[in-house]
């Protein structure tokens, strides 16, 4: 038996998986580095966000739910930083270099 919240969670996780699929297709198909980064960050940010949202009803405890949100926040921070650094490198506008 699955409750309404869990059902919504599964839908959100499935939507997140869709974003991962689209991001991966973009990563493979797009012609240049910045477009590929653009596709990849959608998978990282929105895709993982939806997957985390979908897992929240299954977390079991408040601590576990907060840890899931922390994981998403850390991936946002790291992914955003790396994407900016790669883009700056490609465009030759690296700070401090």
């Amino acid at each position: 038996m699955i409750g309404a919240l869990q059902g919504l969670g599964l839908l959100a996780a499935a939507a997140g998986a869709g974003f991962f699929l689209a991001g991966t297709v973009g990563l493979i198909r797009f012609p240049d580095t910045t477009s590929r980064l653009h596709a990849l960050t959608k998978a990282d940010n929105l895709g993982l966000g939806l997957v985390v949202l979908g897992l929240l009803p299954f977390a079991g405890s408040l601590g576990a739910a907060l840890k899931l949100l922390l994981v998403w926040g850390l991936v946002l921070l790291a992914g955003g930083t790396v994407a900016q650094m790669i883009a700056a490198r490609v465009r030759g506008t690296e700070p401090g270099a």
Partner: protein, 311 residues
Amino acid sequence: MGGLVDWLLAALVLGAAAWTLAAPTGFAAVVGFVGFGLLVTLAWVRLGAVDVALTEAAIGAGATGVILLMAVVRLRGGAEEVSAATPGRAVMVAAGLLAGGVGLALALAVLALPDPAPGLAAAAMARRGELGLGNPVAAVLMGYRGLDTLLESVVLVFAVLAVWSMAPDRRWGGIPGPRFPRQEAGPLALLARLLLPIGLVIGIHVAWVGAEAPGGKFQGGTILAAMWVLAWVAGLVQPPAIASQAVRLALVAGPLAFLLAGFAGMALGEGFLAWPPGLAKPMILLVEAAMTLSVAAALALLVAGPPERAA
């Protein structure tokens, strides 16, 4: 459903391994190796070995990946040396056959095990309460095979010594690794300032919960080392000279505490590395804390490499 996921995962692990071996450049091979390590991490999770999964992700994929990446960067411009050190086709084929043979023999041995496989799990679980550790993996690592864990900690010190020995004589005692410019603005500066406090807390947390839940000194120490590397590449800290007493003390603090605890077992308990009853938990926690520091120092120094500049 579960079986399908496992088959897919196994196929992905093998595919990533093959891709890594066939990668055209060193950089691509390292990227493949890190991806392979993360897939193996998922395999360990599927097998229920979360402690091993954490270690694989932290040390197998993370720390080793960064060390290999540094090696790739250092090898640029040394094409002649690289091709001179690359083994010939015959050696590669022999190594491949040997590795394949060992893998096949291991797979056959695992498949030949009776179900349920014989083991000492029940006996180990029965007595772990005496050490006061809730995590059975930590209890086995510290209680039953303390000698192995002690030697693992010593191996890290020797690995750092081996890297330091690569330095020419005139650089001995100097500062390892390249110098990174201090980032005052930009994404890296932001990441280093935001992530450092969070990462330090998470690293210490992972090391601390190892007594009760999956985690421990190696996993937590790796996260702490990663935070130092982040501060280093952002130019916030410079590597210390390898002649520094503080660095050398941090490197050997863990093995030293472990050895002292082992000898204390001879004085107070039944023998070398026997934890005296009643004192087991606090002694283990002290050893684990010192080990976390030493693992972090050793991994950070392995990433930094041999000394390159005068102190």
